[in-house]
C-alpha cells in the first residue's frame, strides 16, 4: 500500500528580549548556573509575575509577519505539572485566548513551487529551566539550573499541512527566516533558541481522515527533525502493516543514538488542569499598538527576495538564500553597496565567507571579515588588480586580521601583472624553453590542443608566481601559438 505522511509542527521560539517574560532577570545565554534566576524565577513565596512589554510586542510582530489575527484580548493560563525545572509547579502559558490567531506561512520547494502552511495560532509562554543529569553531580542526583526558567517563548502551532520531510524542513527554515528577519529571535539553534515538536501520522494515500498521531518533542536542529520524522514514519508504517495500531503518545528522539522512544505512560497520564492565571489580568492590545508595530516591522524575507531579484539582478534562488537570514541579507546589501558588483558580492557572501563562517562556527554578525573589507577586495577583483585565485589568498589574510585588501596585496606583493609587454615576454620565455611542448601542441588535433593549452598556462603562472593576469595570458598565448601553426 502507498502511504501518505501528515506532519504538523509546534515550534518554540525564544524571544530576544533582555529580560524574562515575568521578571527583570537577564536572559543572556551561557551564564553560570542559577546566577540569572531571581526570586520570581525561583517561585519564592509571595512573588508575582510582571509582564514584559517587549515579549508582548515581539509576539504581535510575529502575528503581523504571518498575516495573522492579533488577539486584542489574550489571557494567560496556568498549566499544572510537577517537574524540578518548573519552579512554580505550573507553566504560565496561553490556551483559550492566545495573542496570535490564525495565519499562514508560504514555503518554497525545490521544484520551484510554493505551498501555504496554515498556522493554527501562536501563544506566549515561559520556558522551563534546565535539568542536568551528567557531569560532576552527587551520586544518584540530577541538578537544576533555573537561568532559562521564565525566558519568553512563542509557541507556533501549525495545522497538519505538511506531507513530507522536505515541506516540514522548509517550513521550519521559513519560520527561522521570519523570526530572525523581524528581529524577535536570535535564531541560534545550538543554544536552543528554536525547538521543534513534530506531530506525525500516516494514512493510506487518498484517504481524507487523519491517522493517529504521535508527538516527538524537543528537537533542536533541522537534522534531528528530519531524522525523527523519517524514523517515525517508518515505525508507524511498519506497525500498521504488521497489523498493529499507532498509539497516540509523546516520544523523545535521541540525536546521538538515533533512537526514538515513547515517554513513560505515567508522565503521559498528566492532566494539566489549565485555568486562567489570577495573578495576571487580560492583555489588551490596542489598534494603535498594532499599527505602530506594523509600521516598524522590518522587510520580510519574501519581499526582500523579490527586491534582490529586481534590484540586484540576482537569480531567484540566490536571492532566496541571501534573504532567508536577515543578518546575511544585511551583510550582502552592505557589500553590494560598497562594491557595486552585486553578483560578485552575492557569490562571495554565499561562497567563501559562508564556508569560512561555518567552518569556524561563527554567525555572520561575528565575521572577522566585515562587509567593508569584503567590498574592498571585490573592487580589486573588478579592476583586475588581483585574480580570483589571489582573492582567495587575500580573503584568507583578511580573515586572519592582516588588514584590508590593499594592505594585503601590497604586503604580499600579490599585485596582478597586467602589463602587456611584460606578459608577452613571459609567454615567449616559456615557449622558448619548452620546444618539445610546442612541437607536441602543433602536432595535436584541434580538441587536444585545448587541453594542452592548460600546460602552458600552468608554466606561465608558475613563472609569474601566480601574478600574471590569467585572461590576458590566455589571449597572448593563443595568439603566439596560432602564429606558429
Amino acid at each position: 500500500m502507498n502511504w501518505e505522511t501528515v506532519i504538523g509542527l509546534e515550534v518554540h521560539v525564544q524571544l530576544a528580549t533582555k529580560t524574562k517574560i515575568f521578571s527583570a532577570a537577564s536572559t543572556s545565554f551561557g551564564a553560570e548556573p542559577n546566577t540569572q534566576a531571581c526570586a520570581i524565577d525561583l517561585a519564592m513565596p509571595g512573588t508575582l509575575p510582571a509582564l514584559n512589554e517587549q515579549a508582548v510586542h515581539y509576539a504581535i510582530m510575529f502575528g503581523l509577519a504571518i498575516n495573522a489575527e492579533i488577539g486584542k484580548i489574550s489571557i494567560f493560563e496556568r498549566k499544572n505539572y510537577f517537574y524540578p525545572d518548573l519552579p512554580k509547579g505550573y507553566q504560565t502559558t496561553q490556551l483559550e485566548k492566545p495573542i496570535v490567531g490564525r495565519g499562514e506561512v508560504a514555503i518554497q520547494l525545490a521544484d520551484g513551487s510554493t505551498k501555504s502552511i496554515r498556522i493554527h495560532h501562536a501563544h506566549l509562554e515561559e520556558d522551563a529551566g534546565k535539568s542536568i543529569h551528567e557531569g560532576d553531580l552527587p551520586h544518584g542526583s540530577s541538578g537544576v539550573d533555573l537561568n532559562r526558567a521564565g525566558t519568553p517563548l512563542i509557541e507556533i502551532v501549525s495545522e497538519p499541512d505538511m506531507r513530507n520531510i522536505e515541506e516540514a524542513v522548509a517550513f521550519a527554515k521559513k519560520l527561522h527566516s521570519i523570526v530572525t528577519s523581524i528581529g524577535i529571535c536570535d535564531g541560534k539553534m545550538s543554544q536552543g533558541s528554536m525547538r521543534f515538536d513534530v506531530n506525525v501520522s500516516v494514512r493510506p494515500m487518498g484517504s481524507t481522515t487523519l491517522g493517529t498521531r504521535t508527538e516527538t518533542k524537543n528537537l533542536n536542529s533541522y537534522k534531528f527533525m528530519e531524522e525523527a520524522i523519517e524514523k517515525e514514519v517508518e515505525r508507524q508504517i511498519d506497525l500498521i502493516e504488521d497489523g498493529g495500531t499507532v498509539k497516540q503518545e509523546t516520544r523523545l528522539y535521541n540525536g546521538e543514538t538515533k533512537v526514538s522512544k515513547a515517554m513513560r505512560s505515567k508522565e503521559e497520564a498528566n492532566d494539566y488542569r489549565y485555568f486562567p492565571c489570577p495573578d495576571l489580568l487580560p492583555v489588551i492590545v490596542s489598534d494603535d499598538t498594532i499599527e505602530k508595530l506594523r509600521r516598524a516591522l522590518p522587510e520580510l524575507p519574501d519581499a526582500r527576495q523579490a527586491r534582490f531579484v529586481e534590484q540586484y539582478a540576482l537569480s531567484k534562488y540566490d536571492a532566496g538564500i541571501l534573504s532567508s537570514d536577515a543578518n546575511t541579507a544585511n551583510f550582502f546589501e552592505s557589500v553590494a553597496a560598497n562594491a557595486s558588483h552585486p553578483k560578485m558580492a552575492a557569490n562571495w557572501t554565499m561562497g567563501e565567507l559562508s564556508a569560512a563562517l561555518n567552518h569556524a562556527d561563527l554567525s555572520i554578525t561575528e565575521s572577522p571579515v566585515s562587509a567593508e573589507l569584503l567590498a574592498g577586495m571585490i573592487l580589486r577583483i573588478a579592476d583586475n588588480s588581483i585574480s580570483g585565485k589571489m582573492a582567495k589568498q587575500v580573503f584568507e589574510a583578511m580573515w586572519q586580521g592582516e588588514g584590508n585588501a590593499d594592505e594585503i596585496i601590497e604586503a604580499k606583493g600579490l599585485k596582478q601583472v597586467s602589463d602587456n609587454a611584460a606578459l608577452e615576454k613571459m609567454v615567449s620565455d616559456v615557449l622558448e624553453v619548452n620546444p618539445a611542448m610546442v612541437e607536441d601542441f602543433i602536432a595535436s588535433d584541434e580538441n587536444k590542443r585545448k587541453k594542452k593549452l592548460g600546460g602552458f598556462m600552468g608554466q606561465i603562472m608558475k613563472a609569474s608566481r601566480g601574478q600574471a593576469n590569467p585572461q590576458q595570458v590566455n589571449q597572448i598565448l593563443l595568439q603566439k601559438l596560432n602564429e606558429l601553426l
Binding site: 528580549t17 534566576a37 515579549a55 510537577f82 524540578p84 552527587p138 541538578g143 533555573l146 486562567p276 489580568l281
Partner: protein
C-alpha cells in the same frame, strides 16, 4: 456525592501527595461532604454570567524590558534544601 477511592488516588498522584492507607477512607468521606456542598452550584442559573470573573476589567500592565535583577545565587541557595556547584540538587530524574 460519592467520590471513589481510585479518584482520590488519582488526585493524590496529580497533587504529589501521599495519602496513607489508614486515612484514605476518612479523606474520601470528608471530600465527599465538601463536594456535596459545592454541588449546590449546579442549581444556579448563570445564563447572565459567562467567562471568568475579575473584580476590575482593567488591562494587564506591561513592564519595560530592562534588567534590574542581579545575581543572588548565594543568598537564595543558602536557604535551599540541597545544592552543589550552583545547581539545585534533586533525586535523579529518569526520562
Amino acid at each position: 456525592m460519592i467520590i471513589e477511592r481510585h479518584e482520590i488516588e488519582k488526585l493524590a498522584t496529580l497533587s504529589r501527595l501521599s495519602i496513607d492507607e489508614k486515612t484514605i477512607t476518612d479523606v474520601t468521606e470528608r471530600l465527599s461532604s465538601v463536594l456535596d456542598l459545592v454541588a449546590q452550584l449546579q442549581s444556579a442559573d448563570t445564563v447572565s454570567a459567562q467567562g471568568i470573573f475579575r473584580p476590575f476589567q482593567v488591562a494587564q500592565r506591561l513592564r519595560a524590558d530592562e534588567v534590574t535583577e542581579g545575581n543572588h545565587r548565594d543568598e537564595f541557595q543558602a536557604i535551599a534544601p540541597a545544592t552543589d556547584n550552583g545547581l539545585f540538587i534533586v533525586p535523579k530524574m529518569i526520562d
